[in-house]
């Protein structure tokens, strides 16, 4: 039996995470890493899309509280993650699959460590079963149709 290897998509803010490191090096080092200019840009649909495409967890790394380059992008991301976690929980999916860390690491060394830690946690939870749950939900098509407004 092959061993289950969880897939984690990691979004990180360019202003606090890895800005002193070589981006090409980090992208080789960290699997499924998406550097963005602010975590406030991350929409719930991006997170859900990741799960739909095969991710088992999503890790968001934002600026420390009160230090967002765009003032409150990290707070907005935190609010979205909090609400999403509550929704996931309500339909029987573990909230540990979406994590947000508001901190800073200019050299980006902690990113791979955090991804590794999350993978270890996800390995205990098993594969994402949200698609099975989503199939049973009648409003899935309506949610999709509302994107991009």
């Amino acid at each position: 039996m092959s061993q289950y290897k969880p897939k984690v998509v990691c979004f990180s803010c360019k202003f606090s995470w890895g800005y002193l490191a070589d981006e090409a090096y980090l992208s080789r080092e960290i699997e499924n890493w998406i550097p963005i200019i602010c975590t406030g840009k991350i929409d719930t649909t991006h997170i859900m899309d990741a799960f739909e495409k095969g991710a088992d967890g999503v890790l968001i790394l934002g600026c420390p509280e009160g230090d967002c380059h765009y003032q409150d992008g990290n707070y907005e991301a935190k609010k979205r993650v909090y609400l999403l976690c509550r929704i996931l929980e309500s339909i029987g999916i573990e909230k540990e699959r979406v994590k947000i860390e508001l901190s800073s690491d200019p050299e980006g060394r902690r990113i791979s460590k955090l991804v590794k830690e999350m993978k270890e946690e996800l390995a205990k939870l098993g594969p994402w079963k949200g698609n099975v749950v989503a199939e049973k939900m009648p409003q899935k098509k309506e949610i999709k149709a509302g994107r991009g407004k």
Binding site: K7, V9, I34, C68, Y70, K149
Partner: protein, 50 residues
């Protein structure tokens, strides 16, 4: 500058004109920017997942 001219601070520059939220966090503004900036990266990463 004349008396009564509207002062646009740096703070205001980062705010959405319609809702006053941070431009990157505002759902309408952010959606546009995300689609332009990181859509390709997201698409590449997500394609590699499956």
């Amino acid at each position: 500058m004349n008396r009564g001219d509207k002062v646009v601070s740096e703070t205001d520059m980062f705010r959405c004109k319609s809702c006053g939220m941070c431009v990157v966090a505002c759902p309408s503004e952010a959606r546009k920017m995300v689609d332009e900036d990181i859509a390709d990266t997201i698409a590449k990463v997500y394609a590699s997942l499956s």
